[in-house]
């Protein structure tokens, strides 16, 4: 499959990406010669069955995993061979992560979780971090829960805390891995509406999902099977 996507400002450019995982003496070929360009302002959904390679693709885009072969340009910069420290900086500055299981830190309260990316960014004072944390918590409708323990919140509320955390450093790209997978349909819809609103405000979003119903929120859907793209649908 050749390069896909509209000709806008490219944010992510993946060229001939291959990813292997060691499996005993053999190598498992998980991503096979993938090419993908993601433009600013897109809401891309990656769909596919389990084992199709969609999560690995997302991890590679989000600097959580490294490519075995090929090249990766992020924001017009070759990022194929970044050091661990540099990858941490990129994740902190340019990416917001939303996971299916929310992945909040239970020993920290709500606002401490939200402002954690700011803590690692080391650019804002404690007061600025707190104000920003409160602002984003209010934006996801949890302004009154700042001091609550995360374990006291419902699943939907925890996912909203995770969304606030993903937004606090004003990232270029939001990576969402099955963000509604652990939520009931009503709460799932709330979360999707929230992501849609963010996209309408210009945030680029890459989301991995099984749920075909959710494709209506995307501007582009790519399907994966056995480590390859099958087809795309532009909405």
């Amino acid at each position: 499959m050749e390069e896909i996507g509209e000709k806008k400002e490219p944010l992510v450019v993946l060229k001939n990406i291959n990813k292997y995982f060691p499996a005993g003496k053999e190598k498992l070929h998980v991503l096979k010669n993938l090419n993908l360009t993601i433009y600013q302002g897109e809401f891309i959904m990656v769909m596919g069955k389990s084992g199709s390679g969609k999560t690995t693709l997302m991890n590679i885009i989000g600097f959580l995993d490294r490519i075995s072969e090929g090249s990766y340009f992020f924001n017009q910069q070759d990022v194929s061979k970044l050091t661990e420290n540099k990858k941490s900086e990129f994740r902190n500055e340019y990416f917001g992560f939303i996971f299916q299981q929310f992945f909040l830190i239970n020993s920290l309260n709500v606002i401490q979780n939200v402002k954690l990316p700011c803590v690692y960014e080391k650019k804002k004072s404690g007061r600025e971090q707190n104000e920003l944390g409160k602002k984003y918590l209010a934006a996801v409708g949890l302004g009154d829960k700042a001091k609550s323990k995360v374990t006291e919140l419902s699943g939907g509320q925890q996912q909203r805390v995770a969304i606030a955390r993903s937004l606090i450093n004003d990232p270029l790209l939001i990576m969402a891995d099955e963000p509604t997978g652990a939520l009931d349909s009503e709460t799932g819809t709330e979360v999707m509406e929230m992501l849609k609103k963010l996209n309408q405000h210009g945030k680029t979003i890459v989301m991995v999902t099984h749920d075909k119903d959710l494709t209506r929120y995307a501007t582009r859907v790519v399907y994966m099977k056995d480590g390859r793209f099958l087809e795309e649908a532009i909405q």
Partner: protein, 412 residues
């Protein structure tokens, strides 16, 4: 950032209070032992020093010896071929900074003792005689010196005469009798009670003048009379304030060496007290080091406990590590976070240990009559050792946490 690190450390540890406390126990025991030993050792040293300074530190003792100073502290007695004369004393009297000089007769034990021969009918004994020092005495029988003794030869016999010499059946038989010492007749006016070493406290033992414990006592006038026939073994210089004792000593040695070029031995400072003090300090130092080594083992065990619990913590918090890494924590931030947790556990354990150790040393000090001394060094070293234990034993688990792959950590 550091503030956040502390908050994060505190919150993580707060979540496992009991586990943190149990981990600290090893460190608490280790540091408490260090502090108990160190504060008692310091107290003992201070006591020795104060008893040393109670001795005449403004007095320099010059003596004549047949041996060069021996580092090993091994000496063989050789009868000296020289003793000081009154002319020698006059020669050194004029040295600048010397307030007064007086001869030291001394025997093998040093001090002011004279070794004299006492005859009672056909019984011959040897006595150590010292001038009466007006100290309080306990008598087996008889009395202390009083005005009626002025101008007369009187002696108070030490009980040691009867302890080491069984020629007398009953010590009291000598009371009020006349004995002959160096040809002079002396009236025995009292006999001291047997000296009891067992009843001495440590501080009393250190303050005691051991050179005269076994001495019989005569008046100063009688002592001077008896000493006329004695060889002068040393010259003691009492110095004026602020005078450098080494200069005075060097000058006196120079004068003596020039006056007596044909002698075989050496003129040197008689620093037996200082040597004894040094030996005692060294002994305390060695004991302290030995106990410290035992303590180090307990800290090692405590440290391994910390390492173990940090490994458990890293394994339990894999997902948290992954989340932190995913949202931008660099490997070194994770390293510092776990290190600070380990250091915090051991620092807290160390501080509790310092408190317990000091209390224990106060308690123990009450029994062995030593006042423990807590110095800033002991406090800082103990706290420092605690933190270092945390850092040393926490570094491997912290490093393994920092090297975790974010994705593997998140999805376990």
């Amino acid at each position: 950032m550091i503030g956040n690190l502390f908050i994060s450390t505190f919150l993580s540890l707060k979540a496992h209070k009991l586990r943190v406390f149990l981990t600290m126990v090893g460190i608490i025991i280790g540091i408490a032992s260090v502090v108990t030993i160190s504060t008692l050792g310091e107290g003992m040293k201070k006591q020795i020093l104060s008893s040393t300074s109670a001795m005449n530190t403004d007095v320099v003792k010059l003596h004549y010896t047949m041996q060069q100073d021996s580092e090993e502290g091994v000496y063989y007695y050789e009868e000296p071929d020289f003793s000081f004369s009154r002319i020698d004393m006059k020669k050194v009297q004029g040295i600048d900074g010397v307030k007064a000089i007086y001869p030291e007769y001394g025997n093998f034990y040093g001090g002011d003792n004279l070794q004299v021969q006492m005859n009672y009918f056909n019984i011959v004994s040897y006595l150590q005689v010292a001038p009466n020092n007006n100290a309080e005495k306990t008598f087996l029988c008889g009395r202390d010196f009083n005005e009626s003794d002025v101008g007369k030869n009187a002696i108070i016999l030490n009980h040691s005469l009867f302890d080491y010499d069984n020629q007398f059946e009953n010590p009291e038989e000598l009371l009020d009798k006349a004995v002959s010492i160096n040809g002079y007749m002396y009236k025995v006016i009292g006999i001291l009670e047997k000296f009891s070493y067992e009843s001495l406290s440590q501080s009393e033992a250190m303050a005691l003048d051991w050179t005269t414990v076994d001495s019989s006592l005569v008046s100063r006038a009688s002592y001077n009379e008896l000493s006329k026939s004695q060889a002068i073994k040393g010259i003691n210089f009492k110095l004026e304030e602020g005078v450098d004792k080494h200069e005075v000593l060097a000058e006196a040695i120079g004068i003596m060496e020039e006056s007596h070029q044909d002698v075989k031995g050496f003129f040197a400072e008689n620093d037996m007290n200082q040597k004894e003090m040094k030996q005692m300090e060294d002994a305390i130092g060695s004991l302290t080091m030995f106990l410290m080594a035992i303590t180090a083992i307990s800290l090692l065990v405590g440290g391994i406990g910390v390492m173990n619990i940090m490994y458990v913590s890293v394994t339990e918090r894999k997902r948290e590590i992954g989340i932190r890494r995913a949202i931008g924590a660099k490997p070194r931030v994770i390293l510092f976070q776990f290190l600070s947790e380990a250091a915090f556990i051991t620092l807290l354990g160390g501080l509790i240990g310092v408190g317990i150790g000091y209390s224990l040393s106060m308690l123990a000090g009450g029994f062995i009559e030593i006042i423990p001394v807590m110095t800033p060094q002991i406090f800082l070293i103990s706290s420092g050792v605690s933190v270092m234990t945390g850092v040393i034993f926490g570094i491997i688990p912290a490093f393994s946490a920092s090297r975790m792959d974010p994705i593997k950590a998140i999805y376990n």
